[in-house]
């Protein structure tokens, strides 16, 4: 990787000359260094908030994120600006990690990343086309909607049954197939 960065340095210097012209020698060298620093900073540094995004306003350039659990849960408002990376990963109702720095006593987002769900051991991911194939092939399988009951009631994939995280213990024994080798496919409201 390091070699790649070194190779990129001349490119950035050239690119910055193209943008700024060659008359401002000092400033163009300074800006030539900058992209390399940014390219190196692949792992965001600094403190972060992890939790569900509960609000996003592009007009006020603020993201509200809920952190902590139970009684300790609190909503924090984080500002962002044009330098914040990955703002598109902050969407209401989805889990995110927001790296931030303090400016004037207020947290400012530097990088926003989606907090991806970890796949449990022995479980594989399928995409929409594979699910369509399974449904069309009339394979014997059970499709499980893991969203809350109200969301399931409002609309779900044809033939799915509702087994949520909270209801699993109560209902799983009654609705899951007796044959433990039967294919089970789970889905919910998105990748987080």
């Amino acid at each position: 990787m390091k070699k790649n960065f070194l190779k990129l340095v001349p490119f950035f210097i050239m690119a910055s000359f193209l943008v700024t012209g060659c008359n401002q020698d000092t400033s163009s060298t300074a800006s030539a260094v900058k992209p390399v620093v940014e390219a190196k900073a692949q792992k965001p540094q600094g403190p972060s908030y992890k939790g569900n995004v509960v609000g996003l306003s592009n007009k006020a350039k603020s993201i509200s994120i809920q952190v902590g659990k139970g009684k300790k849960a609190q909503t924090i408002m984080v500002k962002f600006d044009d330098n914040t990376k990955g703002v598109e990963h902050a969407s209401k109702g989805h889990a995110s990690i927001i790296f931030y720095e303090m400016r004037d006593g207020q947290p400012w987002a530097t990088v926003v990343k989606p907090k991806l769900a970890k796949m449990p051991k022995g479980v594989t991911e399928i995409k929409v086309a594979e699910l369509q194939d399974i449904i069309e092939s009339e394979t014997n399988f059970v499709l499980i909607d893991a969203r809350p009951a109200a969301r399931y009631a409002a609309g779900h994939i044809e033939g799915s049954i509702n087994v949520g995280v909270k209801t699993y213990k109560k209902v799983a024994f009654g609705v899951l197939p007796k044959d433990k080798d039967t294919l089970l496919v789970m889905y919910c409201g998105g990748p987080t």
């Binding site: 479980v123 929409v128 409002a154 609309g155 799983a172 080798d181």
Partner: protein, 248 residues
């Protein structure tokens, strides 16, 4: 959530567990449809639309349906009347017609859409309740206020000064406010709330608004965290001078 349920199933001994991680949004994006549960069709706060002809609908339809026949364009002509924030459930006697209607609504930007399993015949076969008699095209849907929301009536009472126990807090930007605002309102942009709490009275209810409700929601959360009794107003608001159009 799907991964947690998958983990539980693996723990219980299931050997062939897969997760469709992209889930609901990807399913809809691929052009597929969703189906509503029977309980939701019977009692949910939905708009239920019968796409069949008036004649067929009068002879028998699912209770609470409005009849907007698809074939004679009544449906398309009345699409504007369908509330955008409602969950909409459609049925017909043709699967193609029902999915066409879903596509039309999606093109118009509607999001919460579902069908009835097996359309009208499926409903009857499943023993679902039906009614007959003169049909209606009038949609009587009222959005149920979410947690922490203030309703239009209460909001307007405060905005017109009739309710002195509540204050309107406008969290739009200074540029937006320059175009116009409610007469009886305090203005603090969302991103400046934390630094301007002294401008907001603590002894009154605070009704927060912006242009849609998104920023108002965030501001109300922030205020309630600081010991206020704040509620947010979900509505499209467009002000010109002291005249504000409110569409909830």
């Amino acid at each position: 959530m799907s991964t947690k349920v998958a983990g539980s199933a693996v723990k219980d001994g299931y050997t062939n567990v897969k997760v469709f991680l992209d889930g609901e949004p990807a399913w809809i994006k691929a052009g597929n449809v969703f189906y509503a549960s029977k309980g939701n069709i019977n009692k949910g706060n939905i708009v239920l639309i019968d796409l069949r002809s008036n004649k067929k609908s009068a002879a028998g339809r699912i209770a609470r349906s409005v009849t907007l026949p698809y074939a004679d364009d009544t449906f398309d002509d009345n699409i504007e009347e369908i509330p955008r924030k409602a969950h909409i459930v459609l049925y017909s006697d043709s699967a193609e017609e029902a999915t066409d209607a879903i596509s039309d609504l999606r093109d118009e930007g509607y999001k919460k859409l579902a069908l009835v399993y097996g359309n009208y015949a499926g409903w009857v076969k499943a023993g679902g309740k039906t009614i007959s008699g003169p049909v209606t095209t009038e949609i009587n849907w009222v959005r149920i206020l979410g947690k922490g929301e203030v309703g239009k009536e209460d909001f307007l009472k405060a905005a017109t000064g009739k309710d002195t126990g509540a204050v309107i807090l406008d969290v739009r930007t200074a540029d937006e406010v320059a175009e116009g605002a409610f007469v009886n309102s305090i203005h603090v942009p969302l991103d400046a709330i934390g630094k301007n709490l002294n401008k907001i009275p603590k002894d009154k209810k605070i009704y927060v608004h912006c242009t849609t409700g998104a920023r108002a929601d965030m501001a109300a959360v922030e205020l309630n965290k600081n010991g206020y009794k704040a509620f947010f107003f979900v509505a499209n608001i467009d002000c010109d001078g002291n005249e504000c159009e409110v569409e909830d």
